[in-house]
Amino acid sequence: MSIKIRMRGKIKGGIAEVKALIKHPMESGARMNKKTGKPYPAKYINTVIVAVNGKTEIDAQWSGSVSANPYMGVKVKASKGDKVTVTVADNTGGTGTKSIKLK
């Protein structure tokens, strides 16, 4: 199942503020299941890439200490009509991608 991403972008003075909300449990692997006494297996997004018109602008690495259902706000230089893409991948092989056109 692919990871769901919601995204919004707003241009102000040649710089686009891109906000993304990603639906993901972000399980760090340290939280204990009190019933079984075993930790919940780690499942978190470890790679996030923000690209403008296919060119990578920001390349992020995350750990399990990013909150569940992560929010990410970044700024990139862009102009109207540019395509901003966010691609994420987690440690279990799950991926997700979402693009928006800036207006």
Partner: protein
Amino acid sequence: MKRRSFLKGTLATGAAAVAVNAGLLTPSTVLAADWNKKAFGAKKTSAALDSMYGSSSTAKSGDIKLKAPAIAENGAVTPITVDASKMSGVESISILAAKNPTPLVCEYSFAASAVGYVSTRIKMAKTQNVVAVVKAGGKLYQAEQEVKVTIGGCGG
């Protein structure tokens, strides 16, 4: 090392396949990411910085604006904003929570045309300093702020 190549492999097939299918990215851009297992597994801030940047000596900078709440009611969701857009040549921004079991929370690498600005939400185990480390022009700068946490956000 095995795990990293495994991760790389899954990324290559997973993310790249999705991206290529959608016609969005070339596989090489996806492969550019190589998750730094050593830095994220480090138990100390200095060790994490050493593995990430090859150095842990940082200088304080007033140009980094670190926005964090003075009191976080819920440590599982602490909003943090790092604004280093006043600095030139920002290459990377890391956010660390010094007393978390593994301090390094996230690291963002920027291309030359990106703006040094990151806003995110992180988990915090207890009351501690949030540290933002910015790499600009080959040097490390940092800013920190204490956040009081009433309910911890790392398991329990």
